[in-house]
Subunit: 266 residues, 2 copies
DNA sequence: TAGTGGTCTAGACCACTGG
DNA sequence: CAGTGGTCTAGACCACTAG
């Protein structure tokens, strides 16, 4: 217990630049100081990314954090509330504040019978088809803010519901940013996003999604075990880190004859 | 100024049941009292629905509201913050808190070139095809929690971008719940959602969305001026009031050869 | 019963807007 | 300059969880 406190204290020393001119104010009031609760958010995000607390582990209480960081409990609470809103944490009254689970590569939507029901969706199973390295085309390079023809990691996945193929994914990630990421890591961690989080402390966040109805190429149709004529839902998704850095560019083709791609709010 | 205060005071009297046992506590502690800020949210939502403040009008300041409602400014702030999060209000530092604009029937997504750009989307124009009354099929009736074959208002709309037809909408609303709603009201208010808000004080909120890739029937293809073979994005959307009451069931067919249906976050 | 998050208060100072 | 929202503090009490 005491050692934890001391370690936290040492960490605070090294991050003291964050809490610099707290009382001074007055100096250079044009360069706005970042609010305390924002600094606390950043600090907590970094410590979670570094693995100080694993998924579903409990954080120190609000009062402990307030003590460690020498701020009031209300300020810690505001930081935690925002991180809960962003999905990084969850709270349980009387128990504590916990780190959220790692996101699945599938994302948020579920696949349910088109009619309408609020039926419980069947589990989606992922098969990793393989990883390869490709060179970034012009537009992709721009998206990732990397040079043209820079190496990309390409991950292909096949999704099944009750044994039936339902979707084909093609994910692109900047290879130099995630050096060492390969099929073995993805397999061991159980997904691209899980690997990103465990190895690089990065949590992908959906930033933009483009939806279209298209038809498949011969190769894609074969992988999905579908006719080349059938209309297919195309989902093009850009994910980024919480800081806004673009992380992944994912093209999904989804068969929606049997199951509809469903998104619920609140 | 004084009269406003008095009216607010009178209103408070009539809604005093909301702020009943604030200090008493202790009594029947199993029947949890609703938090003050939730009561304030409800009160403000009702007053906005009743038209006390129009879109883009400024609300009383946090201190004024706190005075009227006899609560602390922090509690008013919490209520306002949540309503901002729900999209009902927006704030501007130094200016005040304002009522948000009325939502468009189109919804949140925009239509942009499939490539990827963050290009500024072209304006979407709506043409009202007509309103009619139909009887609720079994599954729709269940959704709206109304009896089978109860009357529904059916609104059909055609959407255009730069003159090209891009989408066909078919909206169903419970006719008895929105008695008097017809083509004239929709036209005058400039949309179904605008009419719902101005006439009934209801703000539709997206609750669920189902996406599929389909082909069109002959009639729909004709209306959209499209081939019957082309894959079309089907969007099935259920909207509800903020209280959770189901309001609208909307089927959209969207041509996505030229433009992709795009959703952005943050 | 001790410890946690959830609500509420009162008061302070700041940054921004507008007349 | 007065008035607004934005941040931060300190302290109180409540409801829930778990030993």
């Amino acid at each position: 217990m005491t050692s934890i406190k001391i370690m936290s204290y040492i960490r605070l020393i090294f991050t003291l630049d964050l809490f610099d001119d707290k009382k001074s104010g007055m100096t250079s009031n044009k360069l706005r100081r970042q609010p305390l609760y924002e600094q606390i958010k950043s600090l907590l995000m970094r410590r979670i990314a570094e693995g100080e607390w694993q998924a579903n582990e409990v954080l120190p209480s609000e009062w402990e954090l307030a003590g460690e960081l020498a701020v009031s409990q209300g300020t810690v609470r505001k930081a935690l509330t925002e991180l809960v809103g962003e999905g990084l944490l969850y709270r349980q009254q009387g128990r504590g504040t916990f780190v959220s689970d790692i996101a699945s590569d599938w994302g948020d939507g579920s696949l349910v019978t088109p009619g309408l029901p609020d039926e419980h969706p069947d589990a989606i199973v992922c098969e990793l088809l393989g990883c390869s390295r490709v060179n970034a085309a012009e537009e992709i390079a721009q998206r990732f803010a990397i040079r043209r023809a820079a190496p990309l990691l390409r991950v292909r996945q096949l999704w099944r519901v009750r044994g039936r193929t339902v979707a084909l994914d093609d994910a692109l990630l900047p290879a130099e940013r995630f050096d060492g990421l390969d099929a073995r890591w993805v397999r061991e961690c159980g997904g691209v996003y899980a690997a990103l989080q465990r190895r690089f402390g990065v949590r992908p966040r959906l930033q933009m999604e483009q939806l279209r109805a298209v038809t498949l190429s011969r190769e894609e149709a074969q992988l999905l075990n579908a006719s080349i004529d059938v209309p297919v839902l195309s989902v093009l998704r850009l994910s980024s880190s919480i800081e806004g850095e673009p992380i992944e560019w994912r093209q999904r083709y989804c068969l929606t004859e049997q199951l509809a791609y469903t998104v619920c709010r609140t």
